[in-house]
Symmetry: D2
C-alpha cells in the first residue's frame, strides 16, 4: 500500500452521533460501544499520522430550518430534520472532542446529503493532492459510509472500509452491509489489519 | 402521484443477467424466479405506458477488454470483467427480449460503473424533460439499484423502489437491502401498489 | 417568468474582490466601477426579495496554505494562491458588506474551484427547493460565472446572466464573454430588464 | 511531461462539423480551413500513438427528436436540435473519416450536453486508467472544448489545450477564448509544441 497517495476519510464523527447528549446518539450507541468504535477510530488516526497519511473529516451540517433538504424531505434526511440534528453553529454539529483532530487535518465542508462526495469539495481536494486511495470510517455504516464507498468506487478510487471503525443503528444493519455490500466496492478490513498494512512499508 | 414528472427507470435488464444463457444468469436466477421478476417488470412497464410515464432503460456496457475498468479492477466490476460480461456489441449486452421495449423508450448509454447516473446522461435527460420522480427496478438490488437510489436521493429526486421488480444474488442480500437501506432513500413498494398509485389519478 | 422556481445566485461578492483593500480588487476595479456593479447587484437583490425569489451567495474559500488546490496549482487558482486570497476565516474571504445580505439568504459553502456547482451543495439545495431557473451574477464574468453558467446549462437549469452585475479583469474579456459565450448557454439581460421580468407577473 | 498518465481527448470530430456536407459545417469551415485543423489533429494523433498516449474520441449524439434536450431547448443545443444535427445512427453523427481513428482508440459515448465529462463515462475511464493529464482538441473552441477544459480543471486534471487543433464559428470567438480563457485553466500550446513535448522524453 503506497501511503503517499492515500487518505483517511472519517465521516460525521460529530457530537450529535457520538456524545451521550447527542440528538441521534441513541441510534448508534449500541454499535459504537459494541465494536469499540471510538478507540478504533483514534488508533486508525494515530497510525495514519505516523505513516504520513492525511486525515480528512467530513461532518454533515445544515443551515437553520434545514433548508438544504427542502420542505418535504423523506427517508433518512427527514429523520435528521425532525430531530433538528447537525445544525450549523450548534454544539451537535461540532466534531466530537474525544476523536483526535489536529490543526493540519482537512475539514471538508458542505456535506448536507448522503455521499461524502455529494455537495462537497472532497473529490477536488483529494485529486489536487494526488490521492487515489481512500480509507473510510465513521457514520452510518449502511447509509453515508455505504454511499461514499460506492461513489468513491465509481470515481475510480481504491477503497478500504474499516469494519470496526464504522457504526450504525443496530447490529443487524451493521453486519449485513459489511457482509453483503462492502466487499462489492472496497477491501474491508479491521483497524488492526489496516494499521499493519501501512506500517509494513 | 403526479405522472407528468415521473419516469420508470429500469437498470440492466440485459441478456447476461436475464437469459438462461447469460453469463451472470446463475447469480440472479433464484431471486428472479422467486419474486416473479420478469412479469412484474412487464406489468410495471405496461402500467407506466398507460399512465403516460416514460420508460428508461439503462444497460451496462463495456468496450473490448473492459477498458473502462482499467487493468486492476476489484470488487463487483472485477467479477464482471472476469466473466467478460456485458461487452458492447455482443448478445449478452443486449436488452433481454422478454422485457417489453418500445421504440419511444429512452435507452441511456454509457453506464460502465455502478450508479445509473455515474458516467451517463440520465440526470441531464430526466431534468431536461422535467422529471423529478424516478421509479427504480432492475439489477442488482443491493449494488447498482442501491447506488442509483442513493444517488437519485442526493440529486433531489423523489425515489420509489419496486421491491419485487429488483433482483440480486441470493435471497438474503435481497431481503436485507430492501429492509434496511431502501427505506432510507426511497418509498419502497411492490409493483401492484405502484400500479395502483399511478392509475388512481 | 415563474418566480417560485427561480433563484438569484451571486458568486464571490467578497472583500478580496470588492473592497478597495481586497487582495484582488485591482484586477476587477475597472469593470466594477465602469458598469456600476455594486448598485446593480443590490438592485437585483432588492427586486428578487420583493418578488419572493431566494438569494444565494456562493463565496470561494480556501483552508490555510490553500491545501484544496494542492502543491502545484496552475492557471487562475495559482493566481489566487500566490495572492493568498480568500483564506477561510480572514477578512478577505468575508462577504463584502455593501452588498445586502440578509439572514434568510442561503450561503453555499465549500467552493474552492471554478464552477459554483463544483464541490458545493448548490445543486442539491436548489433541487430540494424546487428551483429550475438560476439568475447569475458576480465574479469573474469569464471564469467562475462562465463555468457556473455552462454547468447549470448542462444540469438542465434555465439560466439568466445579468450582464451588468458581473465583472472581471478588463473590459475586453468582459465584453467578449458576454458577446460570444453567454448567449450559448443563457438568456443574457441587464439588471433593469431582469427586474422588469420578475415584477410583471 | 509524463506520457503514461496522459490522454489525448478529441471532441466532436464528426461529419456534421467536418464534412463539407455536414449540417453545421458552414459554421466552422472558416476556422477549420484557416488553422489547418484537420492536418494538425492528425499530426497530434500520430505523435500521441508514437508516444504511447491513448487517443479518446468524444462524439456528441442525440436520440430521435433530440429527446435529451427536452421540448424547450435554448442556446446552443437549440441550434443543434433545429438543424437536427448529430442524430444517433445517422451519417452526420459518425466520426469524420479523414481523422485517423484506430480500433484501439477509446470512443466515449453518451455526450449530449456541453462538457465532455457531463453525462459521459470519460472521467471514470480516465481515472480507471491512471490518467491525470488531458490534451484537448476538437469543437467548438469556445463552447464544448471550453467547458470540458474548465470541468477537467475542476476535477483536478492537468490540462493542455491545442490552440490550432480546436475550431469554432468565427475567427473572433476563436481568438478571444484562446487569449482570455484558455490560459486560466490550461497550458495552451500549438500542435507542434505539443509534439515536441511528448517526444523529448
Amino acid at each position: 500500500m503506497s501511503n503517499s497517495r492515500t487518505a483517511l476519510v472519517l465521516i460525521e464523527t460529530q457530537n450529535d452521533f457520538l456524545s451521550p447528549e447527542g440528538k441521534l446518539n441513541s441510534l448508534v450507541k449500541d454499535v459504537v460501544d459494541g465494536n469499540n468504535f471510538k478507540q478504533n477510530v483514534n488508533e486508525a488516526i494515530a497510525a495514519a499520522r505516523q505513516a504520513g497519511i492525511p486525515v480528512y473529516f467530513v461532518p454533515i451540517q445544515f443551515s437553520k430550518n434545514h433548508v438544504e433538504v427542502g420542505n418535504s424531505p423523506y427517508g433518512i434526511l427527514k429523520v435528521v430534520k425532525d430531530h433538528n440534528a447537525f445544525e450549523k453553529g450548534t454544539w451537535g454539529a461540532q466534531l466530537y472532542d474525544e476523536i483526535d483532530v489536529q490543526e493540519e487535518d482537512i475539514i471538508v465542508e458542505g456535506k448536507s446529503s448522503i455521499s461524502a462526495f455529494s455537495g462537497t469539495d472532497l473529490d477536488h481536494i483529494l485529486r489536487s493532492n494526488g490521492v487515489d486511495k481512500v480509507i473510510l470510517g465513521g457514520f452510518l455504516s449502511h447509509v453515508c459510509v455505504n454511499a461514499t464507498m460506492t461513489d468513491a468506487y465509481d470515481k475510480g478510487y481504491k477503497v478500504v472500509t474499516l469494519t470496526d471503525a464504522v457504526a450504525t443503528a443496530g447490529e443487524d444493519a451493521q453486519k449485513q452491509v459489511i457482509d453483503h455490500i462492502y466487499p462489492m466496492f472496497s477491501t474491508p478490513m479491521d483497524v488492526k489489519t489496516f494499521i499493519g498494512s501501512i506500517t509494513q512499508n
